[in-house]
Structure formats: structure tokens, C-alpha cells
């Protein structure tokens, strides 16, 4: 009976927190954590950690405080996180949404008071549990202590550090130094504390692809012919398509296309299509086109044609020259998955002029300011280690249970 009542009270506490959050949402709107900028974010995080320690310290004198981190609190907080993530995962998240669901914050998970208060409660229960783990470290499994600690650090950094993150989109033109970008959320101009000069931009593309287009439903065939050389062939439905000639870089001329490596050149192929049933044959040039000339397709029947899809980038990279405020200079290569790091800033390869494709003269970067980067990285790597160590402890627990 006591056990059942313990769970009931703990779950009611979670329900009250969520309801209070929803009421707050109705009264004052979205949660705005913009005030949590450095140094206030660090001060708030330290104060929060101290508060947790104080609650734990006082729980000897006031046993009621233990209800914040006992088994029932832990289970109810976990179950609440399961339910609330399912709840928000089932509702389309859209910051532009209107209507009742939007008014009570259910369409904006990260700005919802209900979600954030429950997350804070869960993190607090976890934090108190971590302090309890360290207070009784000899009786605890250290892999479990490590994973608790890492998750607590990650969540605390997420709660108190999110407002410190800045996402700035910066467009750099070839050989023109720039340090002004725009804040991604608001579109406001923002000066980053270093200057970027784009020295070179390169794209490696996948081989061009031929597809059969059905003009009636405007669908392209899922099958495709990836052209790497002349002589390749593929069957699309009743059509055998053969590539007679392939030019990786071509420009149109009076008789068709000729090989030319020039700004704006594009791949072109001369193909023959033969219908297996009617033996009808069609021949002609096909190209994906570029920003200086139109694509060309081969019409087979009034409802079918062969087309070359626009080139797909395989890899792209920017060579940049960076100068920080102290005058330190660096030459770096920035590509997708390999950002550059300057102090608390990371610079990501974001995009380019997609209309010009490989002839783009600009490169678009995303500059991210994340002062909590190091602490979260350490916590994540330690959690990775804890995950690996769990395999060993799983076997040990089985033996202990059997004893």
C-alpha cells in the first residue's frame, strides 16, 4: 500500500508540474531563455548545482526532501519523460503553427513551459541522485555513477547553455574578406570576431544520371543509368538506352555539343534508345544544362522521354584565410563534417551557389558559437565509455543475481 501511494504521489507531482507549465504558457506565452547569456548562464548553472547540493545536505534534517530523489521520484520522472517525448513526438512541431495546440505550446517543444519544467525536474532528480551516488560511492557501481553524471552534465549544459549558442550564416565571395553574417533565427546582421576570405571553392560531383520520365504523371524512373563512359547501356521498361558518346564537360555548338572545360560547361551524352516491342529508335543529345544553357532531353513518345538529372555533389570544400581580432592568421580547408575551430567558434561548410554548382564563386558558412562545447564533448565521450563498460557489468550482474 505504501509503495503504491509512493508512486501515486510522485506521479501526481509530475502531473502538477506539467499542468503548471501549461498554465504558465497560457498566461505568459513561450519560455524565453534569452536572459541566460554568459556570464548569467554560468552563474545560474553554478547556483543550480549549489541548490541541489543544499537540498541533498538538508534532506538528513528534513526527510521530506528525500522524496525528490528516492526511487518513486526517479521512476515517475523517467516515466514522465517517456510520456512527454511521445506526446511531443506525436504532434507536428512547427514554430509558425496557430490554433489551440500552438497557444498551449504543444507545437513548440523547446519553448514549451510544460516540457522544460518537467525536463528540469527530471534533471534535478538525476542531479540529486548523482550527489547521493558520490555520498555512497563504495556501495555504488561506478559505471552507473559515471553514466548518471554524464547525462546530468549534458542535460544541465543543454538547459543553461542553449541561450549561449549563436548560429550565424555567413556568405563569403572569392577573395573578398568578410566578417558580417546574419543570425539564422532572426535575420539580423551580426559581426563575428574574425575575418574570412574565400580563396578557393571546389566541388566533386557524382557521375551524371539518365532517367526515363513519364510525362503523364511527371515521375522520373527510380532506376537510372550512371554515365561514366561511352558504351554503357541500360533497359528502362521497354526501352534499351545506349550511350554512344559522353562528354564530361561540354558546351553546345551548331551541330550538337563539343568537349570544352569552360565556366558553365556541363556533361552531355549522345544516346540511342530502341524500343524492344516496336523496334522504334530515337537518337539525340541529352544534357542536364547549366546556368548558361538549357537542359536538353530526348523525346521517345508523346508521353516518355529520357532526361539527365542535375549533378549531385559528392564532396565540397572551401579553402579560406582567417584573421582574428588579435591579427593571428590561419589558412584552413573547411568541408562538410570537418568544421574549423577558432576559440568558442566552429565554422561549418553550409552551402554554395547551387545554381552555378561547381562554378560557384561564393561559399556559405555556418558559424556556431558554443561556449559549452568542451564540457559537453567530455561528457559525451565519457558516456560513450560508460556505454562500452556496461557490456562487462551486465555479465557481472547476472552472476551476482544468481548468487
Amino acid at each position: 500500500m505504501a509503495t503504491s501511494w509512493g508512486y501515486k504521489k510522485a506521479f501526481m507531482r509530475c502531473a502538477c508540474i506539467f499542468l503548471a507549465g501549461t498554465a504558465l504558457q497560457l498566461c505568459i506565452g513561450d519560455l524565453n531563455n534569452a536572459f541566460l547569456h554568459y556570464p548569467w548562464s554560468v552563474i545560474a548553472a553554478l547556483f543550480y548545482a549549489y541548490l541541489l547540493y543544499l537540498i541533498y545536505y538538508l534532506s538528513d534534517k528534513y526527510p521530506a526532501l528525500r522524496k525528490l530523489y528516492d526511487h518513486y521520484a526517479c521512476v515517475s520522472a523517467l516515466a514522465s519523460m517517456v510520456l512527454i517525448t511521445i506526446f511531443f513526438g506525436s504532434i507536428a512541431q512547427n514554430s509558425e503553427a496557430t490554433g489551440f495546440l500552438s497557444k498551449i505550446g504543444f507545437t513548440r517543444m523547446t519553448s514549451s513551459w510544460g516540457f522544460n519544467l518537467l525536463l528540469l525536474y527530471f534533471t534535478s532528480t538525476l542531479g540529486l541522485g548523482v550527489i547521493n551516488d558520490f555520498a555512497h560511492i563504495k556501495q555504488k557501481k561506478w559505471v552507473s555513477v559515471l553514466s548518471h553524471l554524464c547525462v546530468f552534465v549534458i542535460l544541465t549544459a543543454g538547459i543553461f547553455g542553449s541561450a549561449d549558442k549563436k548560429f550565424i550564416e555567413l556568405t563569403a565571395s572569392l577573395n573578398k574578406p568578410t566578417s558580417t553574417g546574419v543570425v539564422e533565427d532572426t535575420g539580423e546582421a551580426y559581426d563575428i570576431p574574425f575575418e574570412i576570405t574565400l580563396k578557393k571553392f571546389e566541388i566533386e560531383e557524382y557521375p551524371p544520371r539518365l532517367r526515363l520520365i513519364n510525362m503523364q504523371d511527371r515521375n522520373a524512373s527510380k532506376q537510372f543509368l550512371s554515365i561514366e563512359q561511352a558504351g554503357q547501356s541500360k533497359t528502362f521498361g521497354n526501352w534499351d538506352i545506349t550511350v554512344d558518346q559522353f562528354l564530361a564537360n561540354a558546351m553546345p555548338d551548331s551541330v550538337g555539343y563539343r568537349a570544352m572545360s569552360h565556366v558553365g560547361s556541363a556533361p552531355a551524352a549522345f544516346v540511342t534508345a530502341t524500343n524492344r516491342l516496336t523496334k522504334a529508335t530515337s537518337q539525340g543529345w541529352i544534357t542536364s544544362g547549366s546556368f548558361i544553357f538549357e537542359p536538353e532531353r530526348l523525346q521517345l513518345t508523346p508521353t516518355e522521354m529520357v532526361s539527365m538529372s542535375p549533378s549531385i555533389p559528392k564532396h565540397y570544400q572551401s579553402d579560406v584565410h582567417l584573421v582574428d581580432k588579435k591579427g593571428n592568421e590561419r589558412d584552413l580547408a573547411i568541408e562538410v563534417n570537418t568544421p574549423a575551430q577558432i576559440g568558442y567558434w566552429q565554422i561549418y561548410q553550409y552551402s554554395y551557389d547551387t545554381e552555378r554548382g561547381k562554378y560557384s564563386t561564393i561559399s556559405i558558412f555556418e558559424c556556431v558559437h558554443d561556449a559549452w562545447y568542451s564540457i559537453v564533448q567530455v561528457a559525451l565521450w565519457l558516456l560513450l565509455l560508460a556505454g562500452v563498460l556496461m557490456f562487462f557489468t551486465a555479465g557481472r550482474r547476472r552472476k551476482e543475481n544468481q548468487k
Binding site: G89, A92, Q93, P313, E335, W381, A394
Partner: protein, 260 residues
């Protein structure tokens, strides 16, 4: 090798797997059962590696490709659990599930794109997907075992060893989920600038992670096996939502970067 060879390779694997199951049920033929089943799995592994080489990229991008890994890991886990605990039926069920997923790939083939976008060309891609598939397979094996225990014959009394097997499958499966999630976060930071973006797949992955964690915490106090089994199966349903269910969820349409 390509998808065209999947039916014949699968047939070969299935012949060896069925032979292994036959010897497992025959009794006192454990070694033969393990060897035959392992040959079936090895043939399937060779097929996946050949696909990897011929595609020029790891076959992990589409739903059909992830099903290949799921079938592989299910068979591996079934064999390992049989070798360790001698449950013939667990070997049979794991192999049956592996065959069902192979069947889906044969009868509902998905055309596979050769291109892989730059953000996916990361050192994290392969381990992230493999550990998740491993977790899915372990937790799938656990779900089968839990359903067996839950709807057991009346005379069957659940032993501590059987509950311990459930716990260990979930504990190891959850460890794999943790590895997958952390690798995903580190990769996302490297590729997109933030660890977590509340993408629908991420939200459901977190719900699944919390739910299995709830089981592990409940297990310390709760003795009622019905409650434990219910939480375990509920978590497995969340896992299915995370893996493929969100593809059909109206709220997740067009919002996920985890497109299969």
C-alpha cells in the same frame, strides 16, 4: 554482388540456418547446430560485404539496407544466445525474424541510390548505424523472449535465470542504444553544428531510450513480472515507431533528416 543475388544467397543461408535449428532441436548436437547456423550467417555477411564493395559505400542508407543488417545481427544474437543458454526456440525465433526481414527485402525491394550526400560521408556513419541495428536486434530478441514468458503455459514457472536473461538483453541493448545516440550526437555536432535538433526520429529515439531506462530502474524494486513485461513490450513498440513507424506518422512527414 547486387540486390539481384539476394534471393539465391538468402536461400543458401536459410538452408544452413534451418539445418542448424534442426540439430538444435534434435538434442546433444549443439556444436553442429552452432556451426551450421554460423555458416548461414557467414554467407549472409559475405553478401553484405560484397554489396558494400559493389555500391562503393556502406549499405546502410535505405530502409532495405538497414533490414539486411538487422537480419544479420538477429541471426548472430540467436546463435550466441543458443550457444550460451541452450534455448533452441530462441535460435529458431531469431532466425525466423531474420528470414521475415529478408523476405520483406525480396518481396518489397527498394531501389537503392548510389549517391550519398556529403553530410553522410562521416566516420560516424557506419558505427552509428551498426550499433543501432545491433540494439534493435538484441531488443527484438528480448521482445520475443518476453512474449514467450508472458504467455507461457500455466505449468511453466519463470526462473530467476530467465528473468536475468531478459535483464541482460535489455541492459546490453540499452548500452547499444546509448552508444548509437551518443555517436549520433557527436556526428551531428560535427556535421550540422548542434548535438540535438529534436528531429522526429531523435524525439522517438529518446522516448525509446527513456522507456528501456525506466525498465532498468523499475527492475530494482518491482517484482510483478506482468508490469516488467508490459514496460518491456511497450518499449519495443516505441523502438518500432523510432525505426520505421515515424515514416507513417503524419506529424513527422517531411520533417526528418533521417530519411530512408
Amino acid at each position: 554482388m547486387s540486390w539481384d543475388q539476394l534471393p539465391i544467397i538468402s536461400l543458401l543461408s536459410i538452408i544452413f540456418w534451418i539445418s542448424g535449428i534442426f540439430f538444435a532441436f534434435k538434442g546433444k548436437q549443439e556444436r553442429t547446430a552452432v556451426i551450421l547456423s554460423s555458416i548461414g550467417t557467414a554467407i549472409f555477411l559475405v553478401f553484405i560485404i560484397s554489396m558494400w564493395i559493389s555500391l562503393g559505400r556502406p549499405p546502410m542508407r535505405t530502409m532495405g539496407e538497414t533490414r539486411l543488417w538487422y537480419s544479420l545481427f538477429l541471426s548472430i544474437i540467436g546463435i550466441l544466445l543458443y550457444a550460451r543458454f541452450k534455448y533452441q526456440w530462441l535460435l529458431a525465433f531469431s532466425i525466423l525474424m531474420a528470414v521475415v526481414f529478408i523476405g520483406v527485402n525480396i518481396f518489397k525491394p527498394e531501389i537503392h541510390d548510389r549517391a550519398i550526400m556529403p553530410a553522410l560521408q562521416s566516420a560516424w556513419f557506419v558505427p552509428h548505424v551498426i550499433v543501432y541495428m545491433m540494439a534493435y536486434a538484441l531488443l527484438g530478441a528480448n521482445a520475443v523472449f518476453v512474449l514467450y514468458l508472458w504467455f507461457r503455459p500455466k505449468k511453466h514457472v519463470i526462473t530467476p535465470q530467465e528473468l536475468s536473461l531478459c535483464d541482460n538483453l535489455i541492459r546490453i541493448g540499452w548500452a547499444f542504444l546509448t552508444l548509437g545516440m551518443v555517436m549520433g550526437a557527436l556526428w551531428a555536432k560535427q556535421a550540422w553544428g548542434d548535438y540535438w535538433s529534436w528531429d522526429p526520429k531523435e524525439t522517438w529515439a529518446l522516448a525509446t531510450w527513456f522507456s528501456y531506462l525506466l525498465y532498468l530502474h523499475l527492475r530494482q524494486r518491482v517484482k510483478d513480472t506482468d508490469v516488467l513485461f508490459a514496460v518491456s513490450i511497450f518499449s519495443f513498440i516505441l523502438l518500432q515507431m523510432c525505426w520505421w513507424g515515424i515514416n507513417y506518422l503524419p506529424s513527422a512527414q517531411g520533417m526528418s533528416v533521417h530519411t530512408y
